[in-house]
């Protein structure tokens, strides 16, 4: 069990990390919730009607959906990394019981949306033009 003597990267104290995490959890829960609504709204606007989409409408729908997907896919790795760090704090971090509970509750909310969004996007993705 040997170790190297390399300089360690700077890190916040656990208190600073935990206190700084809570507003970020709130902010990104709101962002992904709003994103979820935008995906549903887009589908409703273009698909929730009897007549078929014109080719122009279809192109617009595809472009708008693609823009939303790009936005989400760029955010996702950072959100996953952040939620994993929060999970580590909930599981074994040096935090007070109240902070642990708040982190666990906020993490559960964010993860619930984050884990379901890819399925939602799969369902609402524009079908290939036949």
């Amino acid at each position: 069990m040997s170790e190297t003597a390399v300089a360690e990267p700077p890190v916040e104290t656990p208190e600073v990390f935990a206190v700084g995490s809570i507003p970020l959890l709130k902010e990104y829960f709101e962002k992904v919730s709003s994103f979820q609504e935008r995906v549903r709204g887009l589908w409703a606007k273009y698909n929730n009607r009897d007549e078929k989409l014109s080719s122009v409408e279809s192109m617009i729908y595809r472009a708008e959906f693609g823009a939303l997907e790009q936005y989400f896919m760029r955010l996702l790795p950072a959100m996953q990394r952040f939620t994993q760090q929060i999970s580590g704090m909930v599981d074994q971090g040096k935090v007070t019981p109240l902070v642990r509970s708040e982190l666990q509750l906020r993490l559960a909310e964010l993860e619930a949306v984050l884990t379901q969004l890819p399925n939602l996007m799969q369902v609402y993705r524009p079908r290939p033009i036949s």
């Binding site: 069990m1 040997s2 170790e3 190297t4 390399v6 360690e8 990267p9 890190v11 104290t13 656990p14 990390f17 996953q80 990394r81 994993q84 760090q85 999970s87 580590g88 704090m89 909930v90 599981d91 074994q92 971090g93 040096k94 935090v95 666990q104 993860e111 884990t115």
Partner: protein
């Protein structure tokens, strides 16, 4: 350490690496077929529909194990990557056979409360033909950004690691203890495979590691199941190995333990071969039960 190359630069390497990983098990074709539920013995015994459940504490290597036996472990691409915690249940199918499933449950204590009760009930009713309990002699990867954020950190990294590894070894026993009452009432023959992974991190302590799992509290717990179910109802096997070579590091990039000098791919291969021998033992036992 240089950054990992971007994915677009390595697609040509990924396929051969996966083939190597698959080849490890496919080389032992009997064991591979048995894992896939394809063996004549398994079909005759009506065992083909029973899956395999992978349990263990968080960061011990459950997902890596499942990917290894599913032929989906990519040694060239995965080895230097970030640890990815399992959020919910993960389902792996073995190779191209979607009928046989390996279920991996998340290991963090607070996640276990949501997912494990149902799985443990299934264990008690014989849904799984085998349970794989993945341990790591306490060398668990954790998700907190820094070891200084960990509740066991007090003064120095060295002092932290001593306490942390002991705490995680105790957690491994707690997980096994959680399993004991459910396995002990399983109405169908069932095996337990205890994997002790990350051997590359604790190789110089292998005598101590083997004694830890073969004697004392861990062995007592498996002994309780054996006494409840008898030799024909239960079989326990142990396998010590490294599934990949990887330093134990935090997300912030702090190196906690590095792969021991001299522990090379030859030793990885030896460990995998030992695992295949153990699986062959379990296969033979299933045939007799």
């Amino acid at each position: 350490m240089p950054d990992d190359p971007p994915d677009r630069l390595i697609p040509d390497l990924e396929k051969p690496a996966r083939e190597v990983a698959r080849g490890v098990f496919k080389g032992a074709i009997d064991v591979w077929n048995w894992l896939r539920g394809n063996s004549q013995v398994g079909q005759k015994a009506g065992l083909t529909s029973r899956g395999i459940l992978v349990l263990g504490p968080g960061g011990a290597g459950k997902t890596t194990f499942a990917r290894l036996i599913a032929g989906d472990l990519d040694w060239l691409h995965d080895a230097p990557g970030q640890y990815e915690e399992s959020v919910g249940l993960e389902h792996f199918t073995l190779d191209d056979d979607p009928g046989v499933e390996v279920v991996v449950a998340p290991g963090q204590d607070y996640r276990r409360q949501a997912t494990w009760p149902g799985l443990l009930r299934q264990v008690a009713t014989g849904v799984y033909r085998g349970v794989v309990l993945v341990n790591a002699f306490g060398h668990h990867t954790f998700s907190a950004a820094s070891y200084k954020h960990h509740q066991l950190f007090k003064t120095t990294k060295e002092a932290f690691l001593t306490v942390y590894f002991a705490d995680r070894r105790a957690e491994e026993v707690r997980v096994l203890r959680q399993l004991v009452p459910h396995l002990s009432v399983c109405p169908k023959p069932v095996w337990l495979l205890s994997i002790v992974s990350k051997q590359d991190l604790w190789w110089s302590h292998h005598g101590e590691a083997e004694a830890h799992y073969q004697q004392g509290e861990y062995a007592n717990a498996t002994g309780e199941i054996a006494r409840a179910l008898g030799d024909r109802g239960f079989r326990h096997e142990l396998a010590f190995l490294a599934m990949t070579l990887r330093n134990l590091e935090t997300d912030a990039g702090e190196r906690l333990v590095q792969t021991e000098a001299g522990y090379d791919m030859r030793r990885v291969k030896t460990g995998i071969h030992q695992l295949i021998r153990v699986l062959a033992e379990l296969k033979a036992w299933e045939a007799r039960s």
